[in-house]
């Protein structure tokens, strides 16, 4: 039982890390970035050869490089492509679908199609009353918790956070009030992509990825975002752990073949109960 619980938390933590950046970008620019998972995969694939030897400095350097490259790419896209399509939500979504293909195709050309993995930051397992869990999974949860905490503090206690919240409420009014919307937009896209990169690197230390794995990662991230309503960090955290618990407990006590269906069942229940969506994903009532 402890084992199952720990595993649920770890799974939820990984999903949370993947969903955070997506939700941040969605909340601000209302851009549904389908390429989010591919950012994560790119970060992972950049990380693997750099981390190579596995010594502490090389791992830290590789992690930094992978995340910063993604942050740069995210800001660049946020300030060019997605900025140009701002205001036309559907076009932004279509462009992100195009971006999925561009990132997948170039990743496949650069790194080949073979699944790749990386060594965990923290080797070994923790034994607790007969339950066994890899330290790396707990590290993933800790990093996710840290990211959530920092994000929450920045958004809710700082001036910049207030500006971001103001922009996601009403971008035009925020501009009129003198908020540097362009700079904030670039920053938020960069941080969203950075979080994707962080999630991708952590993911690849636990599982193997291929250049096409992004569609799986973004699926889980969107599932969490759709469940959590993509409006508040708390909702996303709850949703990530709901999916984690549903998947791990379902696998343990019902059937492993349907592992990915349990999160969907949760979403279906939410959709039946709230057909107009929840949080930022809801249809705007006029």
């Amino acid at each position: 039982m402890i084992q199952v619980l720990l595993n649920s938390v770890a799974t939820g933590g990984i999903y949370l890390l993947l969903a955070l950046g997506l939700v941040l970008i969605f909340g601000l620019g209302r851009t549904a970035n389908f390429a989010h998972g591919d950012f994560a995969v790119w970060a992972a694939l950049i990380y693997i050869p750099l981390a190579g030897s596995g010594t502490v400095p090389s791992v830290v350097a590789a992690l930094l490089v992978a995340c910063l490259v993604m942050a740069a790419a995210g800001s660049l896209l946020g300030s060019t492509l997605f900025r140009r399509l701002e205001g036309n939500l559907e076009a932004g979504l279509l462009a992100s679908l195009g971006l999925v293909f561009v990132l997948q195709g170039t990743a496949a050309s650069l790194w080949g199609l073979a699944p790749q993995g990386a060594d965990p930051f923290v080797p070994g397992v923790l034994e607790l009353n007969g339950a066994i869990i890899a330290w790396q999974r707990l590290a993933a949860v800790a990093i996710a918790a840290g990211a959530v905490l920092v994000l929450w503090l920045v958004l809710n206690t700082t001036r910049v956070g207030a500006m971001v919240r103001a922009m996601s409420e009403d971008s035009e009014a925020a501009t009129a009030l003198g908020i540097p919307t362009t700079a904030i937009r670039i920053g938020v896209f960069g941080i969203g992509a950075l979080l994707a990169g962080l999630g991708g690197v952590i993911y690849v230390t636990l599982f193997r990825v291929t250049p096409y794995a992004g569609e799986f990662l973004v699926l889980k991230a969107f599932l969490v975002a759709a469940l959590g309503g993509a409006s508040s960090i708390l909702g996303v955290v709850t949703a990530a752990f709901t999916v984690g618990v549903a998947e791990v407990f379902g696998t343990q006590y019902i059937s492993a073949s349907f592992r990915d269906a349990y999160g969907l069942i949760a979403l279906v229940i939410v959709l039946i109960a709230r057909p107009h969506g929840i949080g930022a994903l809801q249809v705007r009532r006029v």
Binding site: R30, A32, F34, L81, R84, L85, N88, L89, E90, A91, G92, L93, L94, A95, L97, G98, L99, V100, F101, V102, L103, Q104, G105, T106, A107, A108, S109, P211, Y212, E215, F216, V218, L219, F222, L223, A225, A226, A256, S257, F258, R259, D260, A261, G263, L264, L267, V268, L271, I272, R274, P275, H276, G277, L281, Q282, V283, R285, V286
Partner: protein, 353 residues
Amino acid sequence: MGESQMVVRPRAGTSWDWLWGHRRAGMVWPLAAIACFAVPLLVEGARGQNLLIRAGLLAILATSLNLAFGLGGRLSLAHAAIYASGSYAAILTTKYVAASPILAITAALLAGAAVGYAVGWLTVGLEGISFAIVSYAIGATLVLVASRLNITGGVTGISIEGDFSVVPLGPLTTDLSARSSKLVLVLLALVISLWCFHRIRDSRFGIALESQRDDPILAASLDIDVSSLRAHAMGVSGAMAGLAGALSAYYIRHISADLFGAGLAIESVVIVVLGGAGYLLGPVLGAALVGIGLELAPFAPGVRRAATGVVLIILVVFFRHGVAGFLSGLLRHRGTRPHQRRRRHDTAQEGPR
């Protein structure tokens, strides 16, 4: 959107006018159907026929998406999963029930419609990108589940063997295992799909669908039942996607879940947008360009995928109406019909009409 008008359950006696609609198609459709039989005589090489079959299947899938997205404004990313349900239904009935193509195609139509309706019903209250996200979450999860089940053969997939494909139709008896008859079958199915799209678009159902796309609140205030309209659109569109899936299963004879991933969902969107969303022949043009043009280009698979993505981005940024929109812009002096009018968002960008 007002919650009170947005009834989630359909009323009794929903508008099914599109089934009979008005008739003014002329001779184009029968001639197109006859022309399908001539295609294998014109294209004899195996490579050419394979390319045409693949492009034809993509065109049917894209026509189905064109119905949901082009007419209904529902950017569905669940269509790859619906297509998959048609494929699996066809193969499983062939394997476990009877080796009859007619039965298999019926099963695929039903499976596609069922999955389409299910997605449509669950998402009636969602619009725009919220719908796209949730439809992606549902569709991709279904495909993921299919990749872990025993009955679908998991990641290795399932195949059909044996002499299953002879259709006993008197003088028209055909052996569907021959490549050229598969080609004819796919092209015929494409013509039928296009005919359905055409009839639906000109029917009250299609006009209502377009009106809810452009302004759901106005549509609801005109006593159009927006919710059931959306569900029906996904159901009909799903049946069409299921048909494409069944034919693809007959064509490749071995299917596995990785065929139906986000790649297929995005490819069908690229085709619809490239051809021109809402235009009858848009998906055909798009499928020809993507399914034949990009295939013939000397690209490695990864580069081809990246090129497809670049095409989509360029289209979205610069040419929102696709090839069909561009062509019909040239022919605009011939007068526009209601369904050729541009969508609200688009007029802001290009300002046609």
